[in-house]
Amino acid sequence: MDKKHNQLLWAYRTMQTIRLFEERMHDVFTTGEVPGFVHLYAGQEACAAGVCANLTEVDYFHITHRAHGPAIARGADVTDVAREIYCRRDGMCRGRGGSTHLHDAARKIIGANSGVGSGAALACGSALAARHRGDGGIAAALIGEGGANQGVVSEAMNLAAIWKLPVLFIFENNGYAEATSADYAIAGGDLSARAPAFAMPGEIVDGSDYFAVADSVAAAAARARAGEGPCLIEVRNLRLYGHYEGDAQKYRPPGELEEYRRTKDCLINFRAHVLAEGSLTAGDMDVIDQQVAALIDAAYEAARTAPLPDPEELMQNIYATNC
């Protein structure tokens, strides 16, 4: 009971942290102080949270260019995330990666990757290493529905299946790859249909429903840990902002986001769910809201005022073994 309660508090806190982090990012981006391309995860929180609810210390979590939310869901330090987005010396990648390349080895958050889809292959390697060690670890890979059309993803699914690797291919179908709709780019419109092609189970999950995602991932993770091989989960959601900050989003059908915000906001739905079942109180969540708001303030302030890397850093860490 306590465990469930804590889990719910964790889920709410996680999703709320991501939401506020991204809303703040959306605001500050206009000031021009954030370098590079920034892809916001707002609207998709239930997916990363639902996955991470099922991951343990030995598991790997492969994320994408839409990196902030997933990194936070996996427990990355929010200040560390913000500092990296601001390309600061003490960011998680020492300012070398920026928004799209968050990576936290200690937490097994594996590199947001600019070549979309390539995380699917890297995840096979994480899973292989975990199996080699025999520590029961699995690899969960987030892949955008657009990135899922990269050939390497199909190759990786086949490889994971024949090697029975403990990989979860989590295709996050947020409706768009940049400005191109999933319906246009995916033959048949249904990524879960690719599961039988590679002899693995697959299903579609409502990405606005934390519980649905968490349950689906729980089953897949259990299966993977039991040595039964990979699974595919297609999580359907929408992003609340543009592909990246600055995107005018003229491709969206009118009213799409308004409707989604009204009926599919994972935070609103989560709140309603836990209040209805009485598992959390409004007070529980209000406290979290305040804590998170303070955390976000502090993280952005810390990031904004943190120093950029020292010039010598340009030429460091090219090789691990001296050269």
Binding site: E178, T180, Q249, Y251
Partner: protein, 336 residues
Amino acid sequence: MTEKSYRNAIRETLFQEMARDPDIILIGEDMAGGAGAGGEEEDAWGGPMGVTKGLIGEYGKKRVLDTPISEAAFMGAAIGAAAAGLRPIAELMFNDFLGVCCDQIINQAAKYHYMYGGQDTIPLTIRTTMGAGLRISAQHSQSLHAIFTHFPGLKVALPSTAYDAKGLLTTAIRDNDPVIFCEHKLLYRLREDVPDGSYAIPFGEARVVMDGEDVTIVAFSRMVHVATEAAKALAKQGIKCTVIDPRTTVPLDTDTIFESVEETGRLVIVDEGGPRCGIASDIAAMTADTMFHALKAPVKCVTPPYVPIPAAPNLEDLYVPDAAKVMAAVLAIYRE
């Protein structure tokens, strides 16, 4: 003659060439944008950089084809279509994504004409973007023209101005070989007077940006502007540089370079590509062979250091060659 941005000069060329030849098709991600989405605008993006805006409205979906994120498949399709008689213009959003369609470019497009005994031609233009400066880190900021240059069978153009962009793209599209057309991300807003009508700039003919008898500076793409800035500053110190923009690496106008080196005896090459096995070392090597006896001083290459490209703005600015580094290189050999 109207003032046009580099971006608009490219777009205008696409309009004009597509009007001229109905076999020209455009293939790429978000060339129009909004495919299947039901938004208000037919081309919601008009290309990731806004270059192809309006083309789908003019030429329709049959000739402007938005693709899934499947560079290997659509590059292969472009090559296949070229071999079968169309004249595709394919867009590789960032040249870094060569990674996912490399086989198509280096093993198929480059070798098709030769390997099959000259039976087919591959009149394919691959438009791509290059260059650092947007703080988007190691996998989106590279300048990979040396890689394209390494493989015989491809031609490689790197326009540094809006005028050249139009003239070189016209040539690229009309050429019967695969051409990699490298647009520098930081040049899209550059503006100058560009003729409204069509014109073609032949490949392999360098542009002499400035003329001077002391030192020859060869530079490509955005580095032409950096080199020119350096040369102007040096002129104030009484050092007169010739600045040469070869405009294409394949074919390469060695004549113009060598003639200048004959006069100056000193060569600096400025390039945004990597230092090892790059285009700067390529030209340095040719010069150290053919023009050895004319050389009065070491050949200097001004390139980024041998390191992946960092996101942090201050590090990225250190990474990319600037006028100060070019001046230092010129000064290092000027006295000799």
